[in-house]
Symmetry: C2
Subunit: 392 residues, 2 copies
Amino acid sequence: MVAVTDLVAEAAALDAADPLAHKRNEFDLDASVAYFDGNSLGAPPKHVAERVAAVVREQWGGRLIRSWSEGWWEAPVRVGERIAPLVGAAPGQLVVADSTSVNLFKALVAATRLQPGRDEILVDADTFPTDGYIADEVARLTGRTVRRVVAEDMPAQVSERTAVALINHVDYVTGRAHDMAGLTAALHRAGALALWDLCHSVGALPVELDAAGVDLAVGCTYKFLNGGPGSPAFLYVATKWLDSFDQPLAGWAGDRDPFAMRGAYEADAGIARGRAGTPDILSLLALDAALDVWDGVDRGVLRTKGLALGDFFFRCADELLDGATIRTPRGEDRGHQISVADDDAAKTMAALIDRGVIGDFRPPNVLRFGLAPLYTTYGEVLRAVTTLREFR
Amino acid sequence: MVAVTDLVAEAAALDAADPLAHKRNEFDLDASVAYFDGNSLGAPPKHVAERVAAVVREQWGGRLIRSWSEGWWEAPVRVGERIAPLVGAAPGQLVVADSTSVNLFKALVAATRLQPGRDEILVDADTFPTDGYIADEVARLTGRTVRRVVAEDMPAQVSERTAVALINHVDYVTGRAHDMAGLTAALHRAGALALWDLCHSVGALPVELDAAGVDLAVGCTYKFLNGGPGSPAFLYVATKWLDSFDQPLAGWAGDRDPFAMRGAYEADAGIARGRAGTPDILSLLALDAALDVWDGVDRGVLRTKGLALGDFFFRCADELLDGATIRTPRGEDRGHQISVADDDAAKTMAALIDRGVIGDFRPPNVLRFGLAPLYTTYGEVLRAVTTLREFR
């Protein structure tokens, strides 16, 4: 067993060699806290507060209604194009609008319409609840049934009855990452569509939607993309499905000529058909500002650091947390979050937060520590583990 | 015919006697423009820019994830309660979430579920497009048909087949206000539900949802409520329907115990069941800040000024715009907008905007001038009409 002082030296050396260390300064983070909840709510880039205030003063106040034709109306697609490279999507397939839940509804209904002869929706049995809830509602409205299957069993369970399978790329409880390309290919062999939820992977691991042949995807922007609390989510529709993507929240913002104010809806030819109502500009432009921190960030470097932060967590836990059960896989089949089992997780996390180590917990018994390569340091990882040791 | 100088004196006298004149100072409006588009995008209250920046710095940055349990999660219902008095709703019936289009979808599907034996949805034939588009999609998903009927014919057209009728309280083209209590009663006599779209009436005329016996309502917050571009909309469900309000966008935010992360959805007992996904906090708290301008505003005084601004517009137009066709009714059956027919509306409005008179136009041929009693002055009304005279 190494001494804590050795781990301190190791952490310092890792931080000194970190090619992303300079990014930390772009975030507004109190030096007294160690923030491990970027997988739930990303930290604010420093320039966002002033940028949002400027949007209010200069665009809303200064230009008033004119701003709608000076960039606001097209912002959902423009900001989508900024996220596209982070998920391996060529232009024209991503739009930012509404919440993840609402985008799941659009995507699932559209998927059933693309697959009229198939009566079943498969849902990742370990899914974040909202995905399953929305799938149940879509099934009820479209006369389908939902079957819950763990992701790794989907290749064996998918059949000619399966319209679409909804899978979380990274599991929100354990941090496990699923094999996007492999599972998508298996679904396709059975003629099913693949709908991926990227909430816990976008901005963490490299996502390659186009290369994996993914049909549809959704994701949130307030975790590793740091867009702000409840910032609007995104919807991806693969180019091959765009013409036939027929979604039920056909509000005026998805119409091909919204200001013509016609009586009958005609979907926009492009990804704007994924829009519903008037876009929420203040939140959307806060996200737009937050995305500036990705300028010049190599996704490979990001992933390497995310894995290294996790490896260092494992190492510290092995040395300092005798007998702890870690739920996160140790291989590369993980996102940027470490989940530690704890029978009294709510109480333990409250104690950690009191000591400035801010993570969260999920039922029934998991402490979650998010590792955000843009701002998490190795020193903080050690602090998390040594603080946790005091409460076990 | 009176001289313009007489109208100038009249405007000055009206402004001097205006009991809401002091409110103008609470808005960030450039003195060089006369803003007549508060019926499309309300002007920003001065304090909103700093309040939003403070939310980013102090709540998001300062408290990070902890803010979700320090007011953010409940904000949709809390802010809804602030709007409730403006629409005559007792507590517990209003929630702020998503866009108007998305809320229309929730309300219309829920209405068809409350009326299983009825196969028709009536839609105001002059509706803002998105309402009709969403109704068409709801009909398609639920096996209903949509019939478009002008609002005043609904009492004659409603039948035992009608599940619900969707009516705009104030028509977006003409500014005409419909008789909410009378039409609702006529729908009820036939056993149909009444769903009102308040986008162009909330914050303008007094709305009395409870007293009129309205079943369901939606409305936007970025027009006369000044919530900011695309700020989240609201949904009203009358208390008598709350227990049976069964909406299809059953995301985790509407669940009775969202952080238990259960596998099966159970709707919240209260109006929070109208929520779908994670709330958009920056926009929601910008709206929250904007609502401060309503403190101490008497709705009767507001309505009186709104009508008086319109009356003065009519008077100026009668004197100065020879032969102009005004589409807005002259009685009290109108909102706070005056619509003037113009065969070249797009070009005329562009010329007006060039001269600092900012309204908008709607196809095929209507110039719209919104009158916001909290900040529009009689002097500006005269300026609008005299400027318009130059381009006719």
